[in-house]
Symmetry: C2
Subunit: 479 residues, 2 copies
C-alpha cells in the first residue's frame, strides 16, 4: 500500500510559498503570515518574480534558484501562471503542493483545460497536490497553518475535510467562540489530485484526530468513499454535512468547486450503511463533530436533564422526544436521593429543575454524581449554571448599591468544576450542555475542557442525539 | 369592552415591592435592583416585615402603613404568606400585582388550593395579577424591569409572551449578543388571572410592538386564543414555540407551570388557521421574532444570495430549497449588470459569490442596489462581509510585521453601510444576514440597526423562510 500523500503534505519540514508579497491584503500574503506566526518550526521560503524580500524574508525569483527542494509548495498565484510554476517546482524536485489558486474547472471548459494541465504536470513529476481552488490546510498539532485565517486556539481532536474553504478558515473565530478545536483541517477545493476519500483515509489513521467532520458538495469516487468511511467509522465517529442533494445546492456547488451532487436519498443511504451521522447545517457539523471528538458515546438513549430553569427543562424534554431520545421518569429511589439536595418547590422527576437558586454545589457535584452513577440513564444534559456570568450581569445594578468591587462580587460565584469534568470519562456517559451566557466561568471552563456547550437547549439535545446515533453505529459494528 | 389589565400593569406610576431585602442573592432583591437601575421614572416603595430600609430606600412593615396605594405590587415572598399579603394590599387599594412566588398549582393539590385562594382574594378586591410562579415583566420603553436580569439594551420592537421565566429574563444576555431587543416581555407563569390570550390582546394593541413571540407549554382558553391570534396576526406577525405536544414535554411542563399540553397536530392547525409562524427551538423563536419585527415581509419566495464564500453560498442555496424558498438563476441582463462589479473568477448567477477579495464596495452598495431594485427577487440574503472582524483576526499576525497600529490596520476596513441599511424599507424587501465573526463592524452595525444577523447561513435562511410564511399569511388576509 502506498503511503497517503497527505502525510507528507501535513508534516512538511520546509514550505515554499509562491503568491505572497508585501501587500497584506493579498490572500497569499495572509497565508504566509499565518504560517510565519502560527508556531510552525520548519523552514519557510518565498518565490516572487520581482520582490527581493517578502514579509521580511529573502525571496527567490524562480524555482530553479531555490537553495534546496522544499518538501511542500503553496501556490496562490494568478491562474494562468500556475501550471508553469508547478512544472518548474516539479523540475526543482518538489513533490507536494497546496494550490489555492482559483479559476479552473469551476469556471467552465477553459478552466477545465488548465486543470487537466495541472494533472499532467503532476503526473509527469510524480507530484500530488491539494486543490486547486481551495483555501489551504491546517495541522494544529504542528502549528502549520496555510489557510487565510489565524488559528489561535490550542490544538484539538476534531479533523475537518471540506469542499468549502470558508468552512475551514473563516469559521475559525466561530469555532474559537464555541471551544471547538481542530486537530487538522483540509480544504480540498476541486479535489483534482487529492479528494475527500484520501483525506478520510489519512485522518482515519491520524492519532490526534478523534472524530472527523466533512462538508461535502459532491463525491466522485462513490464506492471508495463508502468503503473508506465504513472502515474509519468503526474507530472514529464521522459526521457529514451534504448540500449537493437539492437543485439549488447542486447549481451553486457547480460554480463553486465544479462538483456534481447526487440525490439526497442516495447520500442518506451511504450514511446509514457506512455509519456517518448526517448533519443539516454547518453549526451542527461543527458542534456534533466537537461532541463526538470529546465525549464518550452513550450506550443507550435514556437522558437525564439537569437545570435551574423550567423553560429550558421543558424545551429539552420536548426536543429529546422529537429527536429519538428518552427522558425516563426516575425511580422513586433515585428521586428521593436527588430530592435531598433540592428546594421544596423543585422537581426531581427528570427533568431535575432546581428552580431559581444561586450558587449551589448540588448542581455541579452531588446531583451530577447521582446521575452519572445511576443505571437508569445513559447521558446527561445540563442547561444553565448561574456561575459568574449571571453575577456579572447583576453587578451592573448591584455594584454601586453595595459598594463592592467587581471581583469580590463575582469571584465567590465561581464553581469548582473539577469533579464534574471527570464524570463523563469515568462513567462512560456523555455530558452535553447549553447556556445563554457567553461570558461565564462555567461556560468558559466547559469550552476550554472539551465539554460541548451550545447556546440553546434544543441545540444541545440535537448534539446528544448525534452522539446516540454514533453510539448505535458503533454497537452495530461491534455486534 | 373592559380595558386590558396589562395596560395598567405595564405602565404603573408607582410600584411596591415585597420580598426584596438587603441580601443581594435573593430573587426579590435582584428584581428590585433591576427596577431601581433600569431607568424607571415612577415611585418605588418597599414592604419588609423587619428591615427599616431596603437597598437604601425606606421600607414599610405592612401594607396598611404604605403612604398611598401604589399602582402595582411585586410579590416575591414565601409561598404561605403570599395570599395574606395580597389580601392586605387589596385592602390598601392596590389593584394590580405581579406575583413571582412559586409553589402553587405546579406543586400539586396543596399548591392548587393556595392558588385558588389567590384568585378568590383578587376577585374580592377587583384585582388582576400576572403569575404566580413567573419571573416578572419588562416594559423596555418605560425602563420598567421587574425581572431577575438587567436589561441594558435600548428598547426594541419585539414583544414576548412566555410560559417560561427563563426565556424572558435569563436569555437577555443572549438577546443582547444577537441585537434582539424587547418592546415588552411578560412571563405569565401559572397564568391564574392573566393568561397568554390577555397578553396577546394587549401586545396586539401596543404601538411599540411590531411582532410578537410566544413560548407556550399549554393553552387553556383555546377558542379565545385562536380568535385573538387571528385578529392580531392581521396586523402583526406572530411566532410561537410550542413544547407541550410531546409526552416528555407535557410531563415537564406539568411540573413547571402546571400546564396541560395538547397534541402537536392540534397546535399546528391553530397556527395555520390563525397565521402564526411555528418555531421549533428557542433561538428560532427569538431570531424569527426579531426578523419579523424589523424587516418588511417579502411578497414572494424568490431569494438573492450574496456572499464572498462558495461554501455558505451553497449551504444557503441548499437550505433555501429545503425550506420552500427559491433561488432563481438571474436573467442574463441582471447577471451582466452584476458582473461589472466582479472579479473574473466570481459567479453572478445567483448565488452571487464574489470569492475571496477584501474591502469591496460592490458588496455593500452596488450589487445590493441591483438586487433590491430588481423585479426578479423578493428578498436578499447576505453571508459574511469581511469588514473589520477579519482585519482584527489578521492583525494578530500582520501587526508586528508591518509595524502598524491596530487602528490604522482595522479602520480602513470599515464599510459605510448607510445605503445598504436603507434598502429594505425603501424597496419593501427583507435583508437577512449571517456571519461567522462576532466582533466585526458590519456585524455590530447590523445588530444595532435591526438587521437580523445569524451565526450560520442555514439559520439566516430559516429566518427568511419564516418571513416568507408570515408574508403569505398576510396576503391571505388581504385577499
Amino acid at each position: 500500500m502506498t503511503e497517503n500523500p497527505l502525510h507528507a503534505i501535513m508534516h512538511p519540514r520546509s514550505v515554499v510559498i509562491a503568491g505572497a508579497s508585501n501587500n497584506f491584503l493579498k490572500m497569499g500574503s495572509i497565508q504566509a503570515m499565518n504560517l510565519l506566526h502560527g508556531g510552525y518550526h520548519g523552514e519557510i521560503l518565498f518565490l516572487h518574480p520581482t520582490e527581493k524580500t517578502v514579509l521580511g524574508r529573502p525571496s527567490y525569483r524562480t524555482a530553479a534558484e531555490l537553495p534546496f527542494a522544499p518538501e511542500l509548495a503553496l501556490l496562490t498565484t494568478p491562474t494562468r501562471v500556475t501550471p508553469g510554476l508547478l512544472d518548474d517546482l516539479g523540475k526543482r524536485g518538489v513533490r507536494y503542493a497546496v494550490i489555492t489558486t482559483a479559476g479552473f474547472r469551476e469556471m467552465g471548459p477553459e478552466g477545465a483545460r488548465l486543470e487537466a494541465e495541472l494533472s499532467d504536470i503532476a503526473a509527469r513529476h510524480g507530484m500530488r497536490f491539494v486543490g486547486p481552488n481551495c483555501i489551504g490546510v491546517l495541522n494544529a498539532h504542528e502549528g502549520m497553518n496555510l489557510t487565510v485565517c489565524p488559528y489561535t486556539d490550542p490544538p484539538g481532536r476534531l479533523g475537518l475535510i471540506s469542499q468549502s474553504g470558508t468552512y475551514v478558515a473563516q469559521t475559525m473565530p466561530y469555532l474559537r467562540d464555541n471551544g471547538i478545536r481542530y486537530s487538522q483541517a483540509i480544504s480540498v477545493g476541486n479535489a483534482t489530485s487529492i479528494d475527500v476519500v484520501d483525506c478520510l483515509d489519512y485522518l482515519g489513521n491520524d492519532s490526534n484526530t478523534a472524530a472527523i467532520a466533512m462538508y461535502i458538495e459532491g463525491i466522485r469516487r462513490g464506492r471508495e468513499f463508502l468503503a473508506t468511511a465504513t472502515r474509519v467509522a468503526r474507530r472514529k465517529p464521522l459526521v457529514a454535512l451534504y448540500v449537493g442533494g437539492s437543485q439549488a445546492g447542486a447549481r451553486s456547488s457547480q460554480s463553486h468547486t465544479g462538483s456534481l451532487g447526487s440525490p439526497d436519498r442516495l447520500f442518506d443511504g451511504v450514511c446509514a450503511q457506512a455509519g456517518i451521522v448526517r448533519a443539516s447545517a454547518v453549526d451542527e457539523m461543527f458542534g456534533w463533530g466537537h461532541a463526538l471528538a470529546n465525549m464518550p458515546l452513550p450506550r443507550g438513549r435514556r437522558v437525564a436533564i439537569l437545570t435551574h430553569s423550567g423553560g429550558p427543562a421543558t424545551s429539552m424534554a420536548d426536543a429529546c422526544e422529537r429527536n429519538g431520545l428518552e427522558v425516563p421518569e426516575f425511580s422513586p429511589a433515585l428521586q428521593s436521593r436527588i430530592r435531598a439536595f433540592l428546594e421544596p418547590t423543585a422537581s426531581a422527576k427528570n427533568p431535575v429543575d432546581l428552580t431559581f437558586v444561586m450558587g449551589q454545589e448540588s448542581f455541579i457535584d452531588k446531583i451530577p454524581e447521582l446521575l452519572f452513577t445511576s443505571d437508569e440513564i445513559d447521558a446527561v444534559l445540563v442547561h444553565g449554571m448561574m456561575d459568574t456570568g449571571f453575577a456579572s450581569e447583576m453587578y451592573k445594578v448591584a455594584g454601586h448599591i453595595f459598594g463592592i468591587s467587581r471581583e469580590d462580587f463575582i469571584k465567590p460565584m465561581e464553581f469548582d468544576l473539577t469533579r464534574l469534568l471527570e464524570l463523563p470519562a469515568r462513567y462512560g456517559k456523555p455530558l452535553v450542555a447549553s447556556n445563554f451566557l457567553r461570558e461565564d466561568h462555567a461556560a468558559e471552563t466547559f469550552r476550554d475542557r472539551g465539554v460541548p456547550l451550545f447556546r440553546t437547549p434544543e441545540a444541545a439535545v440535537k448534539a446528544l442525539a448525534a452522539l446516540a446515533r454514533a453510539g448505535e453505529f458503533r454497537k452495530r459494528t461491534e455486534a
